[in-house]
């Protein structure tokens, strides 16, 4: 099994996220950056499939120089090699442009299986799996809470999370699988893994290396633009209802006024 897993470096979940004033993109410089937490589940699932069926796990990321830390984390968890697409011109790519760039890189790796997680904690688009599948012309199995691969039959099946249970869906390989965090418990990088990570192959590609047309990526190629952004207003203090025998009626009236009942 030749497995590709996509990972993204994001601002720490706990950090206050800000937009860069000049171009309204996420400010990644002033905060601690970590591997998108959901991607840890993707890496774990890729490693489990590799451990069960043999093969190789390749990590693919697009991001600034610093994103190499996230690649190294995935390698220290046990992935075999990595491709890092990094170029000033990629800055500001929207989901469409990012998927085009990643698809281009992934197609050169001819994987049997591509694993993504359901969303990144910074932009929370949740569309990358679907976009990649579309661009690569592959079946997509998203929201997977369980993945079963049958390389002999060239098949992958997943339990797809549904509102009141799950749906069993199946596809032929190669396919794109998007996993949810219920799927597994990501391992912690082992000490040996951490030391081995630096020695694993890491290919760094510029936009030109990847054969990307500069006009189609980055802010220049974005099909959507953030025109303006405002921080969420501070939360107002709530309404206090004093119970003088009629508390229940007052609460009901309040809820009715909000059109909640």
């Amino acid at each position: 099994m030749n497995i590709v897993v996509t990972v993204k470096q994001v601002p720490d979940t706990w950090a206050e996220k800000k937009l860069d004033a000049s171009d309204k993109t996420v400010d990644r410089k002033s905060v601690d950056n970590v591997m998108n937490e959901m991607d840890e589940y993707g890496v774990e699932e890729a490693l489990k499939i590799k451990e069960a069926h043999g093969g190789e796990v390749t990590v693919v990321t697009m991001g600034p120089e610093k994103a190499v830390e996230t690649i190294r984390k995935a390698l220290s968890m046990g992935a075999d090699k990595a491709v890092h697409l990094t170029d000033e011109s990629l800055h500001g790519s929207d989901a469409l442009a990012t998927s085009a760039a990643l698809a281009k890189v992934i197609s050169t790796l001819s994987p049997d299986l591509i694993i993504t997680s359901s969303e990144a904690s910074d932009a929370r688009g949740g569309v990358m799996g679907a976009l990649l599948a579309e661009r690569l012309g592959l079946p997509q199995l998203t929201q997977a809470r369980k993945v079963t691969v049958d390389p002999g039959a060239n098949k992958v099946s997943v339990e797809r999370l549904a509102d009141n249970g799950y749906a069993l869906v199946e596809a032929t390989l190669p396919a794109v699988v998007g996993v949810v965090e219920k799927i597994n418990q990501p391992r912690y990088p082992s000490f040996k893994g951490i030391m081995a990570a630096k020695k694993k192959p890491l290919t760094k590609l510029s936009a030109a290396d990847a054969g990307l047309d500069a006009g189609s990526v980055g802010l220049a190629g974005a099909t959507s633009t953030v025109v303006d952004a405002q921080p969420a207003p501070p939360r107002q203090s709530g309404t206090i209802v004093k119970d003088e025998g009629d508390g229940g009626a007052k609460v009901a009236a309040f809820l009715a006024a909000q059109k909640l009942i």
């Binding site: 220290s76 391992r187 912690y188 990088p189 082992s190 000490f191 040996k192 951490i194 030391m195």
Partner: protein, 385 residues
């Protein structure tokens, strides 16, 4: 080891401790056991061998890196660290300090991977602070040695696969000179382990007696081979110096946790119309604890650096263990105080840590023994014999 790797090892350990072990503390306390999945995860990460050199399958952290790692391990129940503490610490170090090349090659990988749990069996009923007075004997019989005696309070004895047993091989020699270290496997006929001791704290970490009745071991079981005969006591003392810095770092980690628990409680507990942290008397407790923590941490970092460059391998380790273990005792006492009546109740972490912390002033050399080691060395350096 590169600094960057060390940082990642510490970060990985920190997350593991806080995400997996801290939430399991109450269960560990209730069941008096470390859940098997935590043990497996710890072994998979490499926690059983961080102090064992890379060539023997470990991580080979130097003391300065080890104390940073142990600060993280100290943040949760000491029972977690105890599970692999003897492998990295006193027992594993017997091999590192005293074993032949063949012995190291054969056994250290088993210890570093966690396949084996190793125990350090020095203390006896009548030989605690003065282990040179131990009575366990080993007598040569052809190519074999026959060991007889009883060891007490041996950490991890109930689950150990191998014991580093210290026994007197030369009844005529004075003090530590006639003592030899043996590696005895658990299934050796005549070796038995007593019932688990019922301890004050550190539930989930086990100690027990180890009884040796005509236990026969081959000559190859002598740590250090034929040259190791009579050298066991010196080996034990070297292991203890490393172990003292390790325990001091553990105390710092626990003190950090206690300060965090204290601050969190003082910031939320309301009495008399405000949070108790607004009272200057409570602030005094917090400030004293933070100061103890900062002092202990700085001391341990400094002592570890001097241990690594060889400039101080005797006074420093004892000063660190003495100060940090006493400091964490004070910090735990204040944490209970800050929690008021809740601090006296089972189920509240600081109550548990208060009991857990008490051990640190006792094992691997009591505070009084550290004072003696420190003062004797100072006087020796001044030419007093």
């Amino acid at each position: 080891m590169l600094d960057d790797d060390v940082r990642q090892v510490i970060a990985s350990t920190r997350r593991f401790v806080r995400e997996r072990v801290v939430p399991a503390e109450a269960e560990i306390e209730r069941t008096d056991a470390i859940p098997p999945d935590l043990r497996r995860a710890a072994a998979a990460m490499g926690l059983f061998g961080f102090a064992v050199p890379e060539e023997y399958g470990g991580l080979g952290l130097d003391m300065s890196a080890e104390v940073q790692l142990v600060f993280e391990l100290g943040y949760t129940t000491p029972a977690f660290r105890s599970m692999f503490g003897t492998n990295n610490g006193i027992a594993g170090h017997v091999l590192l300090e005293g074993a032949t090349q063949e012995q190291k090659k054969a056994y250290l990988p088993l210890i570093a991977s966690g396949e084996w749990t190793a125990a350090f069996a020095l203390t006896e009923e009548n030989a605690g602070s003065d282990p040179a007075g131990l009575a366990t004997s080993a007598r040569r019989d052809g190519d074999e040695w026959v060991i007889n005696g009883a060891k007490r309070f041996i950490t991890n004895a109930p689950l150990a696969d191998v014991f580093m047993v210290f026994a007197r091989t030369d009844p005529g020699a004075e003090g530590g000179h006639g003592i030899t270290a043996f590696m005895v496997e658990r299934d050796a006929p005549g070796l038995s382990v007593g019932p688990k001791d019922h301890k004050m704290g550190q539930a989930g970490a086990w100690t027990a007696d180890v009884l040796l009745a005509d236990v026969r071991v081959p000559a190859s079981a002598v740590i250090g081979g034929e040259d190791g005969v009579g050298r066991g006591y010196a080996t034990a003392m070297r292991c203890l110096a490393h172990g003292r810095i390790h325990i001091a770092a553990l105390c710092v980690g626990l003190a950090q946790r206690l300060v965090d628990e204290s601050v969190a409680y003082a910031a939320t507990r309301v009495q008399g119309g405000g949070v108790i942290g607004t009272h200057q008397l409570v602030q005094g407790l917090l400030a004293d604890s933070a100061t103890d923590l900062y002092a202990a941490r700085a001391l341990v970092v400094d002592v570890a650096a001097r241990f690594d460059d060889g400039s101080d391998t005797r006074i420093g380790p004892s000063c660190a263990k003495y100060f940090a273990s006493e400091a964490v005792g004070r910090v735990a006492d204040r944490a209970v105080q800050i929690h008021g009546g809740a601090g006296y109740m089972r189920g509240v972490p600081v109550e548990r840590f208060y009991r857990d912390a008490r051990l640190f002033r006792i094992y691997e050399g009591t505070s009084q023994i550290q004072q003696i080691v420190i003062a004797r060395q100072l006087l020796r350096d001044a030419g007093v014999r």
